[in-house]
Amino acid sequence: MIELRFILEGGDFDRAGTASSETKKILKQLNIDPKVIKHTVVALYEAEVNIAAHAYRGEVTITVSDHQIVAVLKDEGPGIADIKRAMLEGFSTASPKVREMGFGAGMGLPNMKKNADVLEVESTPGFGTTVKMIFDF
């Protein structure tokens, strides 16, 4: 089992993508199917951008075992009031500033759902959100 941990800062779009890039490098070294790598990395990047766009800080834990990759992204932030609505394509609560930077199109969670085999979102409004994604191979 391989475990990777990354700390993310809210508002730091420059560093969003570090966790996905590092994870990608490791997965290639583990000789995991390129298609699985692609799904993992795309979903992970979306999740990272979500933390940069909405949360104050976050922590990413990636666990790779011989049959799956589990990614847990735990953040401290405003949380999601209506998860069902947040899962809809095009629904976004991103600020105009974030949208100006080219993010916040409301495709984040739907895209994560599309790429992960399992997506679980738990949130306490006012405290934060935890996203768990599983990628099987």
Partner: protein, 457 residues
């Protein structure tokens, strides 16, 4: 680790290699190690980009090429060369004089590879309009980039446009032209004058399965020197017929934006291997979206900056820009009508671009994980200075080399120093370890040693 899938053009002359770390540091795929004081290339990782050759202060890297004597074997001798060849000459030497000098070298036909570019432009446009293509489409023009994607970005192989490069098109074009005039195939010798090492490898082991029709490869730097000596004082005869299909777009094709300015609504041109690496990293994360076409070239200023080019890459590009103004657009130019376009099209298709992951620690996932855990533990002990004195490009690479059984803890000079400090290893033993990696006598004082002052290091 030494699995050899591709032919490699770049070789190291051990007699010239002084055992420094310049090449190892610049290699974009971490394909170089220093063993016993000499650089060595991990073949499965080399993409023939030529960065090592550029960085080497001792000129220890060279490329395998054919001898011009081979010309004697053929009745029809064709020089295939990219337009950047002309761009490297100073302004005072005319295109006409250069062509005459090349003929004087013994060639019967001169073929700038970009002459029939119209065919490639049309085919690429057709491909980009197909519905199922994976966007952004990446041009297969630069063989170093294609190999880089194959070994490091396997999930992007489907983005590569499966159409061969202009030199393949030109080779088939001239072959077909001559054969339609009744010439026998075995009488024709095609020689490609290459601006870089990657193109050599592409000819010797093409991406697809079919062998190339090129008979010999000549390095542009050697060729330039020979041509330069044969430049006539004055323009003697008219050679314009040799380049009758040349177009404005063709002249500029191998310079930066040569392709990207032709294709798609949204296209990007990237040159320089390290910029290409950064962009592919982002592309693989889906961070880059909405583009139709990517032109990617391993060298700065594209082929004008090829590793075997003599001229300055900026002046070469400028001369080509000036030169292009003398030629019509490809839209106004018709290629000979007696050619079999379907056959040419067939020759240009690449059947399959396979991924070869050259960075996995082991084919078996469980074993790869064990190795990675071990490497992560080793990293705790390494200093993270990334000095390269161990013979691996950085601490992470050293840890990986160790778990593969290709390096030892004692290769790290700082770790050795600590062990001496802790009296766990003798001074004598530590020094022997160093000499084992860098060669006996490597650390003796020597004022004539390569790399002394004023030697251009």
């Amino acid at each position: 680790m030494t699995m050899n899938i591709f032919h490699h053009a770049i070789q190291i002359d051990e007699a010239k290699c002084v055992g420094c770390v310049h090449c190892m540091r610049v290699c974009p795929t971490e394909a170089i190690r220093i063993r016993e004081g000499k650089a060595m290339i991990i073949q499965s990782r080399c993409i023939d980009c030529g960065q090592c050759m550029r960085a080497c202060p001792a000129k220890a890297f060279y490329i395998k090429q054919n001898d011009l004597k081979m010309l004697q074997d053929f009745k029809y001798r064709i020089a295939l060369f990219p337009a950047v060849m002309i761009g490297q000459f100073p302004d005072k030497i005319s295109e006409e004089q250069i062509y005459q000098a090349m003929l004087a070298l013994g060639f019967t036909h001169l073929m700038e590879v970009e002459q029939p570019i119209k065919i490639l432009i049309d085919l690429t446009k057709e491909y980009l309009q197909e519905n199922e293509v994976t966007k952004p489409c990446i041009s297969a023009f630069c063989p170093a980039v294609v190999r880089l994607i194959q070994i490091k970005y396997p999930s992007l192989v489907d983005n590569i446009i499966p159409l061969k490069a202009p030199h393949d098109l030109a080779a088939h074009f001239i072959l077909q032209t001559l054969m339609s005039q009744g010439v026998k195939k075995e009488e024709i010798g095609i020689f490609y004058i290459t601006p870089c090492a990657a193109k050599i490898s592409a000819v010797k082991s093409p991406v697809g399965d079919q062998p190339s029709v090129v008979d010999g490869i000549i390095s542009m730097s050697d060729f330039y020197n020979k041509v330069r000596q044969l430049i006539p004082r004055e323009e003697e005869n008219e050679t314009g017929a040799q380049r009758k299909y040349l177009t404005r777009e063709g002249v500029l094709w191998s310079t930066s934006r040569g392709e990207s300015s032709r294709f798609g609504n949204r296209a990007i041109a990237i040159d320089g291997i390290h910029s290409v690496v950064k962009f592919l990293d982002r592309l693989e994360n889906d961070e880059v979206q909405g583009f139709d076409f990517l032109e990617m070239r391993a060298c700065d200023q594209s082929c004008a900056g090829g590793i075997l080019m003599t001229g300055n890459r900026f002046t070469t590009t400028e001369r080509l820009e000036q030169r292009s103004k003398n030629y019509p657009s490809y839209r106004e130019k018709e290629l000979a009508t007696n050619l079999d376009k379907d056959e040419l099209t067939q020759c240009l298709l690449i059947d399959e671009i396979k991924p070869y992951n050259a960075f996995s620690l082991d084919d078996d996932i469980t074993r790869a994980m064990e190795k990675m855990t071990k490497a992560q533990r080793i990293i705790c002990f390494l200093p993270g200075i990334d000095c390269g004195a161990c013979g691996s490009p950085n601490c992470q690479a050293l840890a990986e080399d160790m778990v593969q059984g290709n390096a030892k803890m004692s290769d790290c000079i700082f770790l050795q120093q600590r062990w001496q400090h802790e009296a766990r290893i003798g001074v004598e033993k530590a020094f022997l370890n160093l000499e084992k990696r860098w060669g006996e006598g490597r650390f003796n004082a020597d004022c004539n040693k390569r790399g002394r002052r004023n030697e251009g290091f």
